[in-house]
Amino acid sequence: MSRIELNAVRKNFGTLSVINGVDLDIYDGGFTVFVGPSGCGKSTLLRLIAGLEDLTSGHILIDGRDVTELGPAQRELAMVFQSYALYPHMSVRNNIGFPLKMAKQSEAVIDAKVRKAAETLNLKDFLDRRPGQLSGGQRQRVAIGRAIVREPKAFLFDEPLSNLDAALRVQMRLEIMQLHKSLGATMVYVTHDQVEAMTMADRIVVLNQGRVEQVGSPLELYDRPKTLFVAGFIGSPKMNFISGALASKHGAATIGIRPEHVQIGDASGAIHATIRIAEHLGSDTFIHVDSADLGAMTVRATGNIEAAPGTALSLTLDPARIHRFDASGQAIF
């Protein structure tokens, strides 16, 4: 239930500059997702907010108060780690109650709060077990339970679902979103999975090499990527990029078009291509084609389309859906 502001935040590890001046406003009650490729500094940025790393320069404000010099506990934030970081020798009950114990709450208060958290997270039957005796999803819930009992100002999640299998990931995703709704808390969520980012976020922050590339709602990023990087990172399969003659015709160094905005027709069309390989997903077919004019392209067709490798076809680009970028990778609107 708090607003977090980052002003010109920088972080160097020795000579390696990992976060290069990030300005960011994380709104009260929002669900903000940091995405970016591996090593771009997502975790580092989250740890800077948490207070687990010292800033090299810049300021972090929580509800208007400068917390740059405060330790992790005084910032009153809670964090859920990728490896869960449960305390292996403590029961689930003591794990969840640990932050309260550290805050010197009475036994009765701790017991009541732990019970309530366990109820919310369906952990009631496991309170006396050790983390080692739980499944991955249950461990994840314990980690979340440990975060919610303190009623923190905001929740920080660092790739909390990446150790779970696909089905569980979908389920936990929903549970976290529900939790966000019921608590109304500010949540900051790190992931490199852009599907997670698109489905969960109300705001996505795309990071690249320690810089913020773009901030916006999922659809904003999808529809109006500001840079070549964002255009390539958001959306799956990846946006097709075309440079050369066709791009110059549109007055750009590079143009991009998403696979779903390319139509295929019979071989009589303007742009010729041949099918290299097709991926059938049932609901969609991803067709990878080679085109003499455009190079390698991916096309997304709805439904299950017959597409034998080597077949000749033609491509049509939806002109309204073409994204244009200048030589420095900035979008031209």
């Binding site: 330790g71 506990a73 809670a78 780690f81 449960l86 305390y87 932050p99 550290m102």
Partner: protein
């Protein structure tokens, strides 16, 4: 490896070494038991025959016996206390990042590789000697009378020497365990508001319970029959333990029968201590 066939094969394969190990243990043990019931004194080879329990009786009623038991236990307890507490401290220090850490670790572990006899000699002659030892020199430097370690505080001296040898062992085992402690747990506990003391108390110590148990058990086994340090520093008469008393009966009094009885009593004592330890701290090894 879990099929019945492979288990049978495995048993067959390990049988020779198990049998040899078993003989290795059982033959000396049976011989010792046999000797302990004989009249067997090298100074009086003419007197022989069964002695009944008299060897045991004489060993236990020997004036030195209660002191020897006490010294044995004191030595074990004090060296373990010093090495575990000191080892914990050293391990915590060595776990910090600092320049030349690898070299320091190598230095710290080195006493463990020195033979007990050698280290006892070094301590006796170079450090604790009241006339030309380093400690005497330091004491004189600040105007104190040099302490005659082995005459005035024999047990303490032996305990110091043994601690010097065992401290690195404990430190190394604990350090290894510390390094396997997940960094994220430290972060998580910091987020949860744990200061260093709470972190140490609630996360580090439980994590170290198992290695510390291992250290205690292993050191107990070795320290119960510590001998070289006592023999070399010639404090056996003042601060001898059970092992020394057995040596004294066997090789100074030449009473093999009584020495054997003493050896068996030492075995019983070792078992009592082990049972006690396993009861008290053994459950740390489970999970």
């Amino acid at each position: 490896m879990a099929t019945r066939h492979s288990q049978g094969l495995a048993r067959l394969a390990v049988a020779p070494s198990v049998i040899i190990l078993f003989l290795w243990m059982i033959v000396p043990l049976v011989m010792t038991i046999y000797f302990s019931f004989l009249r067997y004194n090298l100074l009086n080879p003419d007197i022989g025959g069964w002695a009944g329990f008299s060897n045991y009786y004489y060993f236990i009623t020997d004036d030195s016996f209660p002191g020897a038991v006490l010294n044995t236990l004191l030595l074990v307890a004090s060296v373990i206390a010093v090495s575990v507490i000191g080892g914990l401290g050293l391990a915590l220090l060595m776990d910090q990042p600092f320049w030349g850490r690898g070299f320091v670790r190598l230095l710290v572990i080195s006493p463990f590789f020195i033979m007990p006899t050698v280290s006892a000699l070094v301590w006796k002659n170079l450090l604790m000697n009241p006339i030309y030892g380093l400690f005497a020199y330091l004491q004189e430097l600040v105007g104190l009378t040099p302490l005659d370690w082995f005459a005035k505080v024999p047990l303490l001296s032996v305990a110091i020497i043994a601690s010097w040898q065992w401290l690195p062992f404990a430190a190394l085992i604990i350090l290894t365990a510390l390094q396997s402690l997940d960094e994220e747990q430290k972060d998580a506990s910091a987020m949860d508001g744990a200061r260093f003391f709470s972190y140490f108390r609630y996360i580090m110590l439980p994590h170290l319970a198992r290695p510390i148990t291992v250290v205690i058990l292993i050191e107990t086994i070795f320290l119960l029959n510590i001998f070289a340090e006592i023999y070399v520093t010639s404090v056996g008469g003042l601060a001898g333990n059970l092992t020394y008393l057995v040596y004294f009966q066997g090789l100074l009094n030449f009473d093999i029968g009584e020495a054997s009885a003493g050896g068996l009593i030492a075995v019983v004592l070792a078992n009592l201590v082990s049972i006690f330890l396993v009861r008290v701290i053994g459950r740390n090894l489970e999970i």
